[in-house]
Symmetry: D2
Subunit: 341 residues, 4 copies
């Protein structure tokens, strides 16, 4: 932590800051510039911040130096990249993987038809929501347990591992029985109960970035899972909120290369929720692959017009294989090898 003093801070004020830093058990290192003096406090970020130095006489502002996450940081694995393996499918490092399926589990027929399209196209994992977080209490909230059963049947039928969302900690056991990857949604990125409990299951966790979460906050959320001894976290960029009203969210493609510099964890992209509109899904998917994403998670539906939820953004199932070939071709140009089971 660097404590930047105001121009004109007095010697007494500087000495008082040094004293407070040292009283907190940190070492104080004073740099005097022509206009401004900076006191370096070597110690724990949180601790030093809580000394109340921001309000202290003569203090202009504090600058954190250390990154607040440890287990998630690129340095922690000294350059080695995490490869998450789910039932033989690899995601991360040089491995590109695709997760596809309907937004919501809505019926046996639709679920099985979608699952087979995912398998036939050669994607690696199957997604589908049994519990749905909905902005409105009057909207369909998912089939719940019945949805989990249909996911289990789709897995049995196709052999595809399942990615599904956990919303309520009281559903943890039920979800963990079916899920091969537990998804935590954007609204729950800072739901510390869910992060911790999902971490304790030991199952891979797909963690979506919150709508206005910084990358540092996303990595801190991942840290909650990692500190439970669970190294298998997939980070997911799914669009952030900006002033633009022309589309639902703004896909933050820069998050992909930047996260690859900050962390060893795989980074996947959800083009469907960002776009909210089918015609944008393919360009965004190609962009994600080109930017170096480790995978994509995308919504498909046998008949999007009839989908209970988010139909307008779902790819049509019978066009999915062609789409996937184009995405994979770009991923290969960007240096990925493709997963074939």
């Amino acid at each position: 932590m660097m404590i930047v003093m105001k121009e004109g801070a007095t010697e007494e004020q500087i000495a008082a800051v040094v004293e407070r830093v040292e009283a907190a058990g940190a070492h104080a290192d004073v740099s005097r510039g022509e206009l401004v003096t900076v006191v370096g406090a070597i110690g724990d970020r949180e601790h030093v911040q809580n000394l109340g130095l921001e309000g202290a006489p003569g203090v202009d502002h504090l600058v954190p130096i250390l990154k607040p996450y440890k287990l998630a940081s690129e340095q922690y694995k000294r350059g080695e990249r995490t490869v998450v393996e789910v039932d033989g499918r690899k995601i991360g490092g040089s491995h590109f993987a695709t997760i596809a399926g309907p937004c919501t589990v809505e019926s046996r027929e639709v679920m099985l038809e979608a699952a087979r399209a995912v398998r036939d196209a050669g994607a690696q994992l199957l997604r589908g929501g049994a519990y749905k977080p909905r902005t409105s209490p009057y909207s369909f909230q998912g089939l719940g347990d019945a949805g989990l059963k249909l996911l289990a049947e789709a897995k049995e039928d196709t052999g595809l591992p399942i990615v599904t969302e956990l919303l309520d900690v009281r559903d943890l056991d039920a979800v963990a029985q079916v899920a091969d990857v537990i998804q935590l949604g954007a609204r729950n990125m800072q739901n510390y109960t869910l992060l911790t409990e999902a971490g304790r299951t030991g199952k891979p966790v797909l963690l979506k970035r919150g709508l206005s979460a910084t990358l540092e906050e996303l990595l801190m959320a991942a840290e909650y899972v990692l500190k439970e001894g669970n190294p298998n976290v997939l980070l997911c960029e799914r669009g952030i909120r900006t002033f633009e009203t022309g589309y639902r969210f703004t896909l933050d493609i820069m998050a992909v290369p930047v996260l690859r510099e900050l962390t060893h964890l795989p980074v996947i992209v959800d083009p469907s929720h960002a776009a909210g509109k089918r015609s944008l899904v393919e360009p965004l998917s190609l962009a994600a692959a080109a930017a170096g994403a480790d995978g994509i998670i995308v919504e498909i539906h046998p008949c999007p017009e009839d989908a209970v939820c988010d139909g307008p953004q779902a790819l049509v199932a019978d066009q999915f294989a062609d789409y996937l070939r184009r995405v994979e071709a770009v991923a290969e140009l960007a240096g990925k090898q493709l997963e074939t089971v």
Copy 2:
């Protein structure tokens, strides 16, 4: 819902839209402009949106007409304003109330000293967190149960009703035993489990706006509480995230008068978390009162330098009474009467 067709949409495309709208059980009303045709669909917003019409041939975009919240809307109470009453203290309508206390319950001495300062200054409710949502898993997470006991003791000592945060649905009973008002934090504004369960307790719920939540989303979150038959929701503006890096959050003062037009629910402002810095708390408090807020929730500490958490933004307890007089003077100018118990 209005379905705006593209320029050059064909008669067949318009007819297809009308057919889809009517098949969904809604009435279709076609307006033909010189350049553009608009199909009005009179029916449920969610339903029409899910027809997949956004992707349909000839459709440009959809415009929702009805507000998606009902119980929270200003019209629902035909202009009457909700006054939440907590142990004789009124918030809302013409009543202005102040909630104050330390960020975190950290020790018996600090809690009692702060509580007495709150009471002596004539504020109406006491706040304090036993469970703290922390960005970092390595930060102090609150005293938990022991913190709840100290809150109960402070209530016993001062007679002040308690506002405290619920983080984990599994703590619901313990929190509800002590809390007179259950606080749901910004990170949990869309935690539908908590919203529903807090709603079911029947206790007043103080609902903080998420960091990048729209007012419509805030009202939809309130709707989750209201639909459980619990009419006592306090909305709280606490700063939103913008591009500005000069302060922690940007207090959205416009939310105050706009919410007063959209909803009958009381609107309070948290100047402390927005500011992150003591010197800004008073100007923001005065601005909140001037803009018509129904109350404020503010952090105080007997000795902010020693606070475990967020000391730099806490008001000094022994200056609190003077500050409160100034806030109340502005609230009176803005048309409020003051609560005296």
Copy 3:
């Protein structure tokens, strides 16, 4: 400037950074923490940043320490506040002033009627636009020269000094002949040609914050005016762009107290453009006064329904005096004395 090295940066990399800093004529000050080394470069911000050190091996990121503005900084006047005086009216320090008038100069009758309402209510300056920046090339662009003439007549008639906007450097002489204060709009906050030329006139400059400008950028824009030897800059907060779609802009009320800490320049608030809607103008005006603003600039119109531009946000002229009394009462509570000419 602080150069934060990566964890694991080698001694060679640190030495290379030190060498580059010193080659640039700055002094290098090395602080070694347990995990991270920081090199302090004492010298010009811009210069050090341009060494390309952000890309250099072992460098994690750069942290600027010095504020980039000088003449605008609070320290520059050692705590003394700038009071801008316009024809006997004072703005800044303990002086609160109101600038009011129609958005656009649209006709002789409207202009004179509005001007008289401004004068009669006891406001200090008269505003009105002869040149209007319009998003659409098909919108009314202002009366131009004819508008300037009407402003001159209104000044003659009422004795009020004139605030009017400069859009095109080629209009500088014409505008400067009529304007007592030259307004530079939000879209032109970083139009360096206009800033410099307006600065050279020596006339007070009312500088509006850009829609997504940081406070630092606003102060840097002011610096362009100040460095021409013109000390009379009025900063104006007029709403920023956020994700919220419920209102046109989000008035950043925090900018008021924060700017008062950063700079000696007066800070005024434009509630009309932020709100875009009459019913919000008064609550925002009161909030601005409460937060410590040095003045407001507000739109009024004798008959807003007939206004050529922005009628829905204009206050009705014959209600203006009552509104102004309420704003002034709050400004007095916030410590201001009122201007009476």
Copy 4:
């Protein structure tokens, strides 16, 4: 324009709205839903908005239906795409083109060396700034006229057409003499003087999106150029401002496919300014090509460490050809044919 009435609006209020719409010469079309009545006003957007209906009794809000731009709209050319041709190089439609060069013209040697690297790599146009918009008045503002002369010499030497920025309308003739494409920077996206005058030169205009401009505003800015009879506008996405502090700007990759649906104009991407950091430039360039961009504009420098301005984001000139091959390979996968002169 749709005028959405409040729930509970009276028949008198509806009739008054209809009357105002018709008095303005538009046709009013009333749709009565169960809860809400909507009045469609068929006529000019700006006009109807200016009736002051937003403030009118019983009116909830207005919804514009028509897009406010005409010449820039996709419909205007009935699906045909604009291909801008500069000295034989084509941009737009199926043509992908690369514009490269140093940020600033800083010396004869650097300019010529960079220009030759651009030509040798097979890029289509040469960029370089003689006039630089700088946040700080104390920063290097460009070589001005001398810089234009060096650009002319580089063009003579390499045969590459020149893209350079116009900042001040008083420099128009000098810039137009050298520039084959006139660049208008992000800060000047709504500088209507420059837009109009650049439009009148008839030269192609490269128009950068403002830091917080919506796509609609970008297209309205283009409309200012187009309405002068100049059809050759290149739109440029260069990163927007968000809450994320981990990078300078957030490249809005979604703007690429969305603009391709909204307009016939070519869309290019500037990965350098968004990134601010060399290591991000290639992933962003590949993402741009994958998303369907019609070209990129990228900064290169023979020796970025020595660059006067923005060195950290410049690609190293002698690695440029390899980089360009990778970008072009992705552009081909995305359906583009490559320009070879």
